[in-house]
Structures are given as structure tokens and as C-alpha cells.
């Protein structure tokens, strides 16, 4: 018998390489439609001969840059063409059966929103678009989304679906306000917030791993539970004792030198402590998840729990720990709404941010850096909504508020590139 034939047939890698794959054009078509609309509406829809002015630095900056004034039509057309070029890249990769990176849909989103901004700001004499302000508020609005998406990533990578991010954010916001007010120090709120989120996470973990309750159902129930409890205490304890719910402020801490960089300096390096914690959290979790022993084990548990069990990894213990940790991270993000924004606690004040965080996690393909990028995109959309309100655009702000949800549906449907959740997510591990 011929052994050479067998060797080639069983050679490593021949298993699925030889299976004919079908090219997927979904991402190309999905993004292509958006880019084409951008060109038609924002590009060609901008009247010729008018200009859009962007202010890039504020008067307090170390170095003041002049405002940039661009011909609106040319700029919007150029941005739309860049979007189309990105679509071309997606098509090129699809033709080679390759995936595109997480950066692409994010950059694509920014470019299209830039075209929108140019279009909206065209020919509004006396109104300029505050680019630095826009970016600062984009980052600011992204903070709870980043923490929420990190929480989701931590849980789902270990196989637990965390729909309770909303509840964890709200619990964190509540306890941060309560404890910080009682002590009279905003920073103490940052310690209290993760505890509240962690407890919600622990409840989710116990019901999911011990009683095998459907994780989505538990998550939704926990959201409602937290909403009910915090609203109750808000209208009883907090309204009877206003000193337990004061607006406390956390000062912005400008980092010397770095905060002096034009445009990005004040955006990135003149923020409060919670934002710096966020930078650290993204970097640390990114490295730990993909390059440490703990991360390898967590991902194994989320992909193939039985395989993890057979090499001596405690599956349910890992899941409980990760879910508590994730809850704590989301709880910390909840502090954004109260102590980190200088606000008192208010009923239902998270207003669905936890669900947008979940969307950022999916768009970011279950990785911390992706979550950061997606959250920034969504934060940008949110900031844009505010900015357009200021310059008096014709677009109803509700439509921009929908962007995160639309982007997520696109992402899940594979229209912005392939995304694959951890294989064992949502499935209880029973021996």
C-alpha cells in the first residue's frame, strides 16, 4: 500500500484546510452600504462652497493651535471615500478568507461620524465644532461603557453570560454615593463601588454554577432587583437623610508634561482618578487574559470546560471568581455616575448604559482592547449627539442614541466582520 498518500492526508493542518470554504461577503456588503450612504448623504448632500470650522484646542492649553477650517463638501466626500477604501480592504481580506482586525469597524465608525459632523457643521456661520471638547466628552461618556464591557469580557471568557452589568453599574453608583457621602470623601466611594458590583456578580455566579439557572434570566432578574432596591433606598433612606446622598467631586488630576500635548493631552491626561484606573484596567486585563497562566485557564474554561477539568482546573471555581471579579469591575464603573461625575445618586441613573456596555463587549470581540475601542466609538456617538444638539442639527438626537444598538446588531450578524463568542458561554458545567 502507498504510505505517501496517507502521510499527506493526515499531515498536520490538512484536516480542515482541504475543506472548501465559502467566502463570506457579509461584512463587505454591510459596511459598503453604510459607506455608500455616507457618500450620498453627507458627502454629496453637503452644499458646495461652504466651510466647516473645527476648533482643536481650548484657550487653557499650553500650546494653542489655530482653528481648522475645511471646505465642507470636499472633507465629507474625502471621509466617505476613506470609508469606501476601508470597505475595499474588507473585501480584499474576505477574498483571501482572512478576517479583519477589531480596529477596522471602529475606525470605520469614526470616519463615517466625522463625515456626519462635517455635514452637520457646514455653513453654520459663527458656530464651530469643538473637537477637543467633543473628544473629551467622548472619553468621559465611554468610561462606564469600558468598565461594563471589561466586566462582560471577564465573565463571558469564563463561560458566564453577564446580562447583569446594568445592575452592577447601578449598585456601584448607589453604594459609591452612599458610602462616600457618609464618610465625606469621594475616593472612599471608589472602594465601596466594586463591593456592590461584586455582590451582584456573586449572586449571578451562584445561581449559574450551583443551581444551573438560565444565566440570562438570572441576569435580568438581578437588574430588576438592583433597580428596585436602589430606588427603594433612594426614596426612603436617602430622601430622609440627604446627607447620605451628596454630590461629591473628584478633582481632575493633570499629569505633568503629558497633559500639555496639543489636542490629545487634555483629552487623555487631564482626567480624574477613575479614568486613570480605567486605562490601567484595560492594559492589565488585556495582558493577563491573553498572556498569563490565569488567562489561559479562564479562556480554556470558557471554551471547553471539560478539557479544563481533565487537566485539573476547577471549572466552577474559576467561573465564580471571574464573575465576582467582573461584577466588581462593573461596580467600579458605576462610580462614574455618582462620585466621579460630581453627582448625587438618582433613580435609574445608569439608564441602559449596562446594555450598551454589553454591545461594546460584543463589537470588541470579547477582548479588553476591543472593548475599549468599541466603548470609545459609542462614547463618541453619544458626545456627537450632544454636540449636534448644540450646533442645532436637523438630525433628531434619538437617532444617534440608537447607534450603539444598530452597530451591535450589525456586529452580531457578522456585518462588520466575524465575531465568535466563547464556545461554552451560557452552558452550565455539570460533571
Amino acid at each position: 500500500m502507498s504510505t505517501t498518500a496517507v502521510d499527506t492526508a493526515t499531515a498536520p493542518g490538512s484536516g480542515s484546510d482541504a475543506v472548501p470554504r465559502t467566502k463570506s461577503w457579509r461584512a463587505t456588503i454591510g459596511l459598503g452600504i453604510v459607506a455608500a450612504l455616507s457618500l450620498l448623504v453627507f458627502g454629496l448632500g453637503t452644499p458646495a462652497g461652504v466651510q466647516t470650522t473645527f476648533t482643536v484646542s481650548s484657550s487653557t492649553d499650553f500650546i494653542t493651535l489655530p482653528s481648522i477650517t475645511v471646505p465642507a463638501k470636499a472633507a465629507a466626500v474625502t471621509l466617505s471615500i476613506i470609508a469606501l477604501l476601508l470597505v475595499g480592504w474588507v473585501a480584499y481580506r474576505a477574498n483571501q478568507y482572512r478576517k479583519v482586525g477589531i480596529w477596522l469597524p471602529i475606525v470605520f465608525g469614526m470616519v463615517v461620524m466625522g463625515a456626519l459632523l462635517t455635514w452637520a457643521g457646514a455653513d453654520r456661520s459663527g458656530t464651530t465644532i469643538q473637537l477637543t471638547g467633543l473628544l473629551t466628552s467622548a472619553l468621559f461618556l465611554a468610561v462606564p461603557l469600558v468598565f461594563g464591557a471589561l466586566a462582560g469580557t471577564l465573565c463571558e471568557r469564563s463561560g458566564i453570560i453577564n446580562i447583569a452589568i446594568e445592575g452592577q453599574l447601578l449598585a456601584g453608583a448607589f453604594l459609591a454615593a452612599l458610602v462616600a457621602s457618609a464618610v465625606g470623601n469621594a475616593y472612599v466611594g471608589l472602594i465601596a463601588a466594586p463591593i456592590a458590583g461584586g455582590i451582584v456578580g456573586w449572586l449571578l455566579a451562584v445561581f449559574s454554577t450551583k443551581y444551573w439557572v438560565n444565566q440570562i434570566v438570572v441576569g435580568v432578574v438581578l437588574n430588576l432587583l438592583v433597580l428596585g432596591l436602589t430606588s427603594f433606598f433612594f426614596s426612603t433612606v436617602m430622601s430622609d437623610n440627604p446627607e447620605l446622598n451628596q454630590p461629591l467631586n473628584m478633582p481632575d488630576l493633570a499629569i505633568p508634561l503629558l497633559s500639555g500635548i496639543p489636542v490629545i493631552g487634555p483629552v487623555l491626561f487631564d482626567q480624574n482618578l477613575l479614568v486613570y484606573i480605567m486605562y490601567a484596567a484595560v492594559i492589565v486585563i488585556q495582558i493577563m487574559l491573553f498572556r498569563s497562566r490565569w488567562g489561559l485557564r479562564v479562556r480554556a474554561v470558557g471554551e471547553h470546560p471539560k478539557a479544563a477539568d481533565t487537566v485539573g482546573i476547577k471549572v466552577n471555581r474559576t467561573r465564580v471568581r471571574n464573575t465576582v471579579l467582573g461584577g466588581a469591575v462593573a461596580g467600579l464603573g458605576g462610580a462614574f455616575f455618582t462620585v466621579a461625575s460630581g453627582l448625587a445618586f438618582g433613580k435609574e441613573m445608569t439608564a441602559g448604559k449596562g446594555y450598551i456596555a454589553l454591545a461594546a463587549m460584543i463589537l470588541g470581540r470579547w477582548s479588553p482592547k476591543g472593548a475599549l475601542a468599541a466603548a470609545l466609538l459609542f462614547g463618541f456617538a453619544d458626545a456627537l449627539r450632544v454636540q449636534l444638539g448644540i450646533i442645532g442639527s436637523d438630525i433628531p438626537s434619538q437617532f444617534l442614541a440608537m447607534t450603539p444598538y444598530l452597530a451591535t446588531i450589525f456586529a452580531v450578524a457578522g456585518l462588520v466582520g466575524h465575531s465568535r463568542p466563547p464556545a461554552a458561554e451560557g452552558i452550565p458545567y455539570k460533571k
Partner: protein, 507 residues
């Protein structure tokens, strides 16, 4: 390392899976654990590997008593196990899979030392000639290569005792030969190998010692020189005939005609069936052979209408099946025995009687004026239970309480109750005891002799040879060739690995 099991007992509720089993495995030997499916072989090994807690007995390594509370303990003690269903994370690389659970770290941040893991994989791979790339993703590897990764995983933990649980179930005959060669090398390097199998040929080829297990107890040991008939009768507890009696086929007109059938999996976008053309005539059995996962399941499902056809035609008795509902296809005379009987074949929480009318519940006499007539259903069930020799206390017992063989008899009884033109049976005897296999095979041949066209999908070559009048070999969604059942095993093995047979077409 010398492994000794003394009086190991394991119960699941009332059922005793292992009853005081004694076993000694010497270093540098291959010890075959032979027994039918459900005899308790895997349970015993899972106890040894720390996955189950034993209800009694003790484990000794080199004469020293050991207690394993989990697989981690067993591995630390030098026991490695290659599971029947691979325990590999598909999206990890080979090196990541091998290091998982005993990762080396480096640097002040204690990050993973992937270089060390790569070096380990390469070293073991080179030592045994495995040709495994440490950076390949496991999901991209062939089944045979994945199994080698499992062996590397065990060896990288310095396993002195290696348990192989039904290692050849998913391999082509050539891959099986390669595996047996590897097992020989491991033995020569001093490893004690426990080979769990029900395949007699492998036992004879490689084993030094054979222990036969039946219904949870050791029924004896045998020499590798024992004949297949001797080993089989020890396994089953009575004389068995290793061949199926059947008359030569008398094929009539074509009943099922398939041309250029292509199916693309909507989830993965992979082409699972690639322009498959074949025909099956009245009164003949066409066996579809091939290693699991090469499109056989999809072929069976596409004919019935369970899988969506991307392009191509399927016609039964001259009438196209495309665009018809599964119900219409069943009514047109297709009988379907699904591959996974507990998932797709029966509703475990229903009684046997109700399972037997799953496809007839809305017809006379079982249903009258929109209501089910329990006595008609019960009468039908009693009759079928007797005709198909379903071993149960009552036809009103829950189907889930039956053994695999008896569940399969229920499925067959239901599917054969209609007048069939075509019977499709996927893995009809997987996991069944020898007695049930004989019964199922006899029934299938009876259907053929009644003039039904039969398609058998099986990954067991023995079964293919026993039943087939013609054999279609599938590889990567294509039909490699259609050959006659007197094709020898080596040629068949090559075709199952994708090489075209040299024989002229027997079709």
C-alpha cells in the same frame, strides 16, 4: 510504573458499573481492556483518573496506595489519559493546549512561557515522529493529528501510565495502524499503556495482556493469541457468529437518485457536501463508509430534508424531494434512523408507547376526531415491543429508562411500521451490544429483501462489510468512489483518507 487496581467498585444509584474489579498493569506492556459498550471500561478508567469517586477499592502505584480527588492528582502521579472525545480547546494552539494546567511562567510578571511549551511539543513530537506544529490551531488539525496532540499532552506531564479510551473510533484504518505503531514505541520506552477498546483486531495486533470486562466485572484474561471468536464470546458471554447471513442482493429499479447534491452549512459556511451523485436501487443496501465528519450525516439529513440543500437534485421513485416538508417525505416512504438516538431518535421523557406513534399520532386508529385513543396506542405498542424484542417491563415505561440497544429497537420499530420505499439508517448499531447488533442487522436485511432501498451510514468498517451490497466512500464531503464489498481493507482505508481506489467501479 506498576499500576494495580484492587476491588474497585463504582455505583450509579442502583446500577453497579464496576463490581470489585482487579487489574494489574506492568510497565512496558500494553494491557487491553476489552468489553462491549457499557461494560464499565470507561467508568473504571475515569475512577482511576480521578474523574469519579470510587465507592470501594484502592489504587496502588508501585505498591503504594494512592487517592485521587481529581484529574490533577492523577496526572501529578504519572497517569495520563487520552479521552475518546478529545479534551482539546479548539481555538488554542497545540502548545497552549499542551501547557494548559501545568503552565511554565517566566519574568517578573509571570507571563506564560510559550517558548518552553513549544520546545516541549517539538521535542516529544520529534522523538516519536509525530510531525505536529506547536503553533497550529487545534481546530485546523486532522483528527489523527489531534490525537497525537493528546498523546503529547500526556507525555509532557511525564505520564508513566497512559490510558487510551477507544482511541481508534475516529481514525481511518491507516491512522489506526500509525497509532498502534506509536503505542508500540511507547511500550518500548517503558510506558504502561492501557488500551480500552471493543475492537478485536486491535487487541490482537498490539496487546500483551487482555482483560475482558462484562457487566462491570472481570470475566477473565486472555492471551493475544486467542481467536476473535474466543474473545467475542468472552465479551458477550455466549457464542456469537461474527458474520451476518444474507443472500446476494437482487436489485430492482433505481429508487433514490441523487445528482450533484451540494450542501453548505449555514452556520460555518463550509461546504459539507460537494456535488454528491449516487443512486440506490430497490432491494439493495448501499453503505456509506468514511471517517466520522466527512459529510455522511449531512447526506442522510439532506435526503430527508433536515439539512437545507444548496444545489442539486434528490428524487425518490422518480419524484423530486426538494421543496417538500419532512412530513411529506416521511409519508412518501422514507424511514430514518438518526445517528444520535438519544438526542434525535426518541423523546426520552415519553413512554415507549408514545415514542412508537411519534409519526402516526394524528392518524386512525391512534387518533379519533382530534383526540388520541390511548388503548389503540397501547395495543400498537405491546405488539411492537414483542415483535422487536424490546426488553422492558411495560410498553408504558419511559424510553429513557431503556438501554441503548432497546432504545434503538424502539426507533427501528417506529420507522419500519410504515410502508417504506427507502430506509436511511445512520450508525444503526453504535454503542449496542453484540446481541442487539445481530438483531438490528437482521431487520435491515429483511427490509432489503422486501424490496426497500437501504442506505446505511456507518463509520465501522466491520458493519459496512457485513451489510453492504455496494459501498460509497466519502471524504471531505465528496464521494471518493463507489466500490463492491470485496474491496480489501487497505484500499478502503486509503479511500477513506481521500485517495482514489484503483479498482474499477463496481457500481
Amino acid at each position: 510504573m506498576r499500576l494495580e487496581l484492587r476491588e474497585i467498585t463504582k455505583r450509579f444509584g442502583d446500577f453497579t458499573a464496576n463490581d470489585a474489579i482487579d487489574l494489574v498493569v506492568e510497565p512496558g506492556t500494553v494491557h487491553a481492556l476489552l468489553g462491549e459498550n457499557g461494560a464499565g471500561k470507561s467508568t473504571l478508567m475515569n475512577v482511576l483518573f480521578g474523574l469519579y469517586d470510587a465507592d470501594g477499592g484502592e489504587i496502588l502505584l508501585d505498591g503504594e496506595r494512592r487517592v485521587f480527588t481529581g484529574p490533577g492528582d492523577a496526572m501529578a502521579a504519572g497517569i495520563g489519559m487520552v479521552h475518546q472525545h478529545f479534551m482539546l480547546v479548539p481555538v488554542f494552539t497545540v502548545a497552549e493546549n499542551v501547557m494548559l494546567g501545568h503552565e511554565q511562567v517566566r519574568g517578573p510578571a509571570k507571563l506564560l512561557d510559550l517558548d518552553a511549551a513549544r520546545a516541549k511539543v517539538t521535542e516529544i513530537s520529534d522523538r516519536f515522529g509525530f510531525h505536529v506544529d506547536p503553533d497550529a490551531l487545534v481546530e485546523d488539525l486532522s483528527v489523527g493529528a489531534q490525537q497525537r496532540v493528546e498523546i503529547i499532552k500526556a507525555l509532557s506531564r511525564d505520564a508513566k501510565v497512559l490510558i487510551l479510551d477507544e482511541p481508534t473510533a475516529v481514525l481511518t484504518p491507516q491512522e489506526t495502524d500509525e497509532l498502534l505503531e506509536i503505542v508500540g514505541q511507547l511500550r518500548d520506552s517503558g510506558t504502561a499503556v492501557v488500551l480500552i477498546t471493543h475492537k478485536l483486531r486491535e487487541v490482537q495486533a498490539i496487546a500483551d495482556t487482555i482483560t475482558v470486562i462484562r457487566r462491570g466485572t472481570v470475566v477473565g484474561t486472555a492471551e493475544p493469541t486467542a481467536t476473535q471468536e474466543e474473545l467475542a464470546s468472552m465479551m458477550v458471554g455466549r457464542d456469537v457468529s461474527m458474520t451476518v447471513d444474507k443472500d446476494p442482493a437482487d436489485p430492482g429499479e433505481p429508487m433514490l437518485e441523487i445528482s450533484n447534491l451540494t450542501v453548505i452549512d449555514p452556520a460555518t459556511q463550509l461546504t459539507v457536501l460537494d456535488s454528491v451523485s449516487l443512486e440506490v436501487r430497490r432491494g439493495e443496501i448501499l453503505a456509506v463508509a468514511g471517517v466520522q465528519g466527512n459529510g455522511q450525516t449531512e447526506l442522510a439529513e439532506a435526503i430527508l430534508g433536515l439539512a437545507e440543500i444548496t444545489s442539486g437534485d434528490v428524487s425518490l421513485d422518480g419524484e423530486p424531494l426538494a421543496g417538500r416538508s419532512i412530513r411529506e417525505n416521511l409519508d412518501a416512504g422514507i424511514g430514518f434512523v438518526p445517528e444520535d438516538r438519544t438526542e434525535d431518535g426518541v423523546v426520552a421523557a415519553f413512554t415507549i408507547a408514545n415514542n412508537l406513534i411519534l409519526d402516526l399520532y394524528d392518524r386512525e386508529p391512534y387518533s379519533k376526531r382530534g383526540a388520541i385513543d390511548p388503548s389503540a396506542v397501547a395495543d400498537h405498542a405491546d405488539e411492537q415491543v414483542e415483535r422487536f424484542d424490546v426488553r422492558t417491563t411495560s410498553s408504558q415505561a419511559l424510553t429513557g429508562s431503556l438501554s441503548g440497544g432497546n432504545q434503538q429497537k424502539v426507533v427501528l420499530a417506529r420507522e419500519l411500521a410504515r410502508d417504506l420505499k427507502l430506509l436511511i439508517a445512520s450508525q444503526p448499531t453504535r454503542g449496542l451490544d453484540v446481541g442487539s447488533i445481530e438483531f438490528v442487522h437482521k431487520r435491515i436485511i429483511e427490509e432489503r429483501d422486501k424490496g426497500v432501498a437501504v442506505i446505511i451510514v456507518s463509520s465501522e468498517l466491520d458493519e459496512v462489510y457485513a451489510l453492504a451490497d455496494r459501498i460509497a466512500v466519502m471524504y471531505h464531503g465528496r464521494i471518493v468512489d463507489i466500490v463492491s464489498p470485496d474491496t480489501d481493507r487497505d484500499t478502503m482505508g486509503l479511500m477513506m483518507a481521500g485517495a482514489h481506489g484503483d479498482q474499477e467501479e463496481a457500481a
